[in-house]
């Protein structure tokens, strides 16, 4: 079983999962905040924010990667700040891969959560407010539980996207085995070798299995949550 793939392929698999999990979990709070703002608040520049969030979806991934590189690279404005102030370097690190994956997956996460928020009847939230819950508490005790299935859907969608993300990642943090070589990078590399199809196919199977497992898990959780809400 272990022999079925070369060790560096397994390394890529492990790294991909690590990168995707971090990408998704770290961007979740911001994702919920942005989704909430877009769903419920009116503020100047709302459409600009909305567009900005969608941008990574619209742009070819290479462009996004290039923009990330010029911003978060060691020479980039933000990258330099991060390094000087916090000692954080993302360029050519797995953290950079996670950043790229997070950015690319962000639109999907936000859209899914936003739709879920829009489906919550504001009158239920009003009821909570009259019972003494401040807006933050209303969110924590009413809105959040009610949108949980949507959040989970958004999470898994984002996770799947993060697992498959390639263009922006390789452009931003390149492909360093063990550090930034994710599963898609590995697949891509192999595909470029004449006759590499067989190994590529194996890697594709691994990618599918992982994503499906995540998917099934999320469906299960999501259904359990929904049942708790709907049921007896």
């Amino acid at each position: 079983m272990i022999d079925w793939l070369p060790p560096d392929a397994w390394q890529a698999v492990a790294l991909s999962v690590q990168v995707s999990v971090w990408a998704v979990l770290c961007s979740l709070p911001l994702g919920i905040l942005v989704a909430y703002a877009l769903a419920r608040w009116e503020f100047p520049g709302k459409q600009v924010l909305n567009g900005l969030v969608l941008l990574p979806l619209i742009l070819p991934p290479v462009v996004t990667g290039y923009l990330l590189l010029t911003t978060f690279g060691r020479q980039g404005a933000v990258g330099r700040m991060l390094e000087e102030w916090f000692g954080i370097v993302v360029a050519f690190r797995w953290t950079g891969a996670a950043l790229a994956a997070a950015v690319m997956a962000f639109p999907l996460m936000v859209r899914a959560i936003r739709l879920a928020i829009e489906a919550v009847d504001p009158r239920i939230e009003q009821a909570a407010a009259t019972l003494g819950a401040s807006p933050a508490w209303v969110f924590a005790t009413v809105t959040l539980p009610l949108i949980l299935p949507g959040v989970i859907a958004g999470l898994i969608l984002a996770f799947a996207k993060a697992m498959g993300e390639f263009g922006a990642t390789i452009t931003f943090v390149s492909n360093i085995p063990g550090q930034t070589q994710t599963l898609p990078s590995a697949i891509y590399s192999v595909l470029q070798v004449p006759g590499g199809d067989a190994q590529a196919a194996r890697l594709v199977v691994v990618a599918i299995v992982i994503a499906m497992a995540a998917l099934l898990l999320s469906e299960w959780v999501s259904r359990a949550v929904a049942r708790r809400i709907a049921g007896a």
Binding site: Q126, A129, I229
Partner: protein, 358 residues
């Protein structure tokens, strides 16, 4: 005490009301679409009226002129909504203690067992709202608001989904809240019996305007106002509970006259209110005998007003207070009734429903 002054426009509908409510229960009384829910929502802070000022006691909840508006969650209200609005993702128990928790009463507020029993929802605690019947849902909604220990209760037709037996059980609790805890209550209702029983102040509404305001006795006793038609008219009499009899009757003292009503669960000496619907009163010139009716109030007629229909509304001044009698014009003539003549009001003990005393 609640003071409300509001003007607001929504669609074709224009609200322009202003009323002060004495401590106790203020009932908004009016037909469908007259603006009751709109007013309650403004008090709760769920609706931003175009202009207005709302105060509870010394606390200003809203003053548009001064740009002041307390957010809903700081108003410490218990709002019982017309449509329940339970939290679908929480169990009945969690729904119930939701407000209590924010009021700092913890996860087991002291009033919980009591409220559970009163509302008959003890067995439902572990369920979720989706598995409740319509009436069960509304009872949970009532419990949730009560348990929040609010300083003002808003109730928008809270009882309309309950059957009579439940209504009779829940009403006394609201009354106790009114009398003991001194929580002001703003109450929307269609039912005159409910209104008479519970109201300290009645605000009659029609098309977004106040058409009458006063005590239940005044508004329900004024056939001109009676926003829900003549059947809602009736006298409200103040009495003191004198003693309980072995045969299940309680004896009241109303201005020195003994009135018998089905046993009421209060201690002798308590003051109670008695609604006597005008259409439940029979009049006789001479004191009748040999009747099953136990309550006979002698008095003097102060006014007779002939309505458009076959009825006449007779005001009788008795030692117990003013009593309204709605009789047929034909009887009024036959008995030769006129202002100044003496007459006796006959009232059955059992015609006074438990709803009507309290």
């Amino acid at each position: 005490m609640l003071r409300v002054a509001l003007t607001h426009r929504q669609g074709d509908f224009e609200l322009d009301v202003s009323f002060d409510a004495a401590p106790g229960v203020t009932v908004l009384f009016g037909r469908s679409g007259s603006g009751k829910t709109t007013i309650v929502n403004a008090v709760a802070g769920l609706l931003r009226p175009d202009r207005g000022r709302i105060t509870v006691g010394d606390t200003v909840l809203l003053d548009t002129d001064r740009g002041l508006r307390v957010p809903p969650h700081r108003r410490r209200l218990g709002y019982i909504f017309q449509d329940g609005r339970l939290f679908a993702h929480l169990t009945v128990r969690q729904n119930l203690i939701y407000g209590a928790w924010f009021a700092g009463l913890g996860r087991s507020p002291r009033a919980l067992p009591h409220v559970l029993e009163m509302l008959g929802i003890g067995p439902l605690l572990a369920r979720r709202p989706a598995g409740l019947s319509g009436g069960e849902r509304q009872r949970v909604a009532i419990g949730r608001a009560l348990l929040a220990q609010p300083r003002l209760i808003l109730a928008d037709e809270p009882l309309s989904a309950l059957d009579d037996a439940r209504k009779a059980e829940v009403l006394p609790y609201l009354e106790r809240l009114r009398d003991e805890v001194q929580v002001p209550i703003l109450y929307v209702s269609h039912a005159p019996a409910e209104v008479a029983r519970i109201a300290t102040t009645v605000v009659a509404l029609e098309g977004g305007r106040v058409t009458g305001i006063g005590t239940a006795a005044q508004v329900l006793g004024d056939p001109d106002v009676a926003p829900l038609g003549i059947r809602s008219a009736g006298a409200v009499i103040a009495a003191t509970l004198r003693r309980h009899h072995a045969d299940g009757l309680s004896e009241l003292d109303a201005g020195g006259i003994a009135l018998f009503v089905p046993r009421i669960a209060m201690a002798p000496g308590t003051s109670v209110r008695l609604r006597i619907a005008a259409h439940d009163v029979i009049l006789a010139r001479d004191r009748p005998t040999g009747l099953s009716a136990l309550n006979i109030l002698p008095g003097t007629i102060t006014a007779i007003r002939q309505g458009q229909g076959p009825g006449a509304m007779v005001r009788l001044s008795t030692p117990a207070g003013v009593v309204l009698a709605r009789i047929t014009a034909r009887s009024a003539q036959a008995l030769d009734l006129a202002p100044g003549t003496t007459a006796h009001a006959i009232i059955k003990s059992v015609a006074i429903a438990p709803d009507d005393v309290g």
